[in-house]
Amino acid sequence: MEKFIELFAEQLDAMSEVTLNADTRFRELDEWTSLVALSIIAMVDEEYGVSLSGNDIRSVNTLGELYNLIQEKL
């Protein structure tokens, strides 16, 4: 989970240091854009070999839920 949060944070263009944890509602972050969404899909594919859809990403709210979704698809 920690590793996942790190990888997720790398995709944000955050000038400001955002602190992320399993409860972070990632789609509500200021840094959340369509490009970040595409980057998360590509990162999850590259790192976990899991193919997420745009609808998958919208179906969850927090980073913990997103992580669990990836685990289910592993």
Binding site: S34, L35, S39, I41, A42, S53, G54, N55, R58
Partner: protein, 250 residues
């Protein structure tokens, strides 16, 4: 009849699906004999059945992967003299720049750009295009008029295709051969259905960006292709028709 293709031999790549398929059907309806290229045998059979139900012309098919140059060369050797060529085969893949894989960009450019160049090259070399024939490239607004996040590989492939179209229009003009492109916005085909990266919500928002408030249909593009293939456009070369519901006005 205006825009008749009666008696013309038209070769179409990407004929087994989406825009290429709609173009094949429209060409047959306008009186052409259609020569179809694709890979998927089942879809090719169903297309041929449809074409034969439209007219008794000698429609035919060639099953091949256009990125295999030997198959392409063998196919061209068998072709009859052509009055028209439609280059519609293509794929798309979205990847933000840090995630671009070299093998993926090669794959995209191989089919979207190089296969079209190789096919036209081989057809010219074997002198299969008749005088006053017409070549239509299915390009895109992406890479030519606009681009979008994650679409770099595709935009590069279509920008290159567009540059090739213009050069071909100039070089082939001495033989009276015309080259033009159609440049669609998003069209409802397998190409976009297979891309699951946008959520339903994002697709709704994307459609809203189009002044005409919908994505295009394969037929919307096929009509422009028929127009450019017809003798009525015999003084139009090196140009493009944007078919995008007004998106690039913004």
């Amino acid at each position: 009849m205006l825009f008749s293709l009666s008696g013309k031999n038209i070769l179409i790549t990407g004929a087994t699906s989406g825009i290429g398929r709609a173009a094949a059907v429209m060409c047959a309806k306008q009186g052409a004999r259609v020569l179809c290229i694709g890979r998927n045998e089942e879809r090719m059979c169903s297309l041929l059945t449809e074409l034969h139900s439209i007219s008794s012309a000698e429609h035919s098919s060639y099953l091949l992967d256009l990125t295999n140059n030997q198959s392409l060369v063998d196919c061209v050797r068998e072709l009859p003299p052509l009055d028209g060529l439609v280059l519609a085969a293509g794929i798309n893949k979205w990847k933000p720049i840090p995630f671009i894989k070299l093998e993926e960009i090669h794959e995209l450019i191989n089919i979207n750009t190089i296969a079209a160049i190789s096919l036209l090259k081989e057809i010219c070399k074997k002198k299969k295009l008749k005088e006053c024939s017409s070549v239509v490239f299915v390009s895109s607004i992406a890479g030519v008029y606009t681009t979008s996040m994650g679409n770099a590989m595709y935009a590069v492939s279509k920008g290159g295709l567009q540059a090739f179209m213009k050069t071909a229009a100039l070089e082939l003009s001495s033989k009276g051969i015309r080259c033009n492109s159609v440049n669609p916005g998003r069209i409802e085909t397998d190409l976009i259905k297979n891309n699951t990266q946008l959520s339903d919500e994002e697709i709704r928002m994307d459609i809203n960006r189009y002044p005409l408030k919908r994505y295009g249909t394969p037929l919307d593009v096929a009509y422009s292709i028929v127009f450019l293939l017809s003798d009525e456009t015999s003084w139009i070369t090196g140009t493009d028709i944007v078919v995008d519901g007004g998106l690039t006005l913004k």
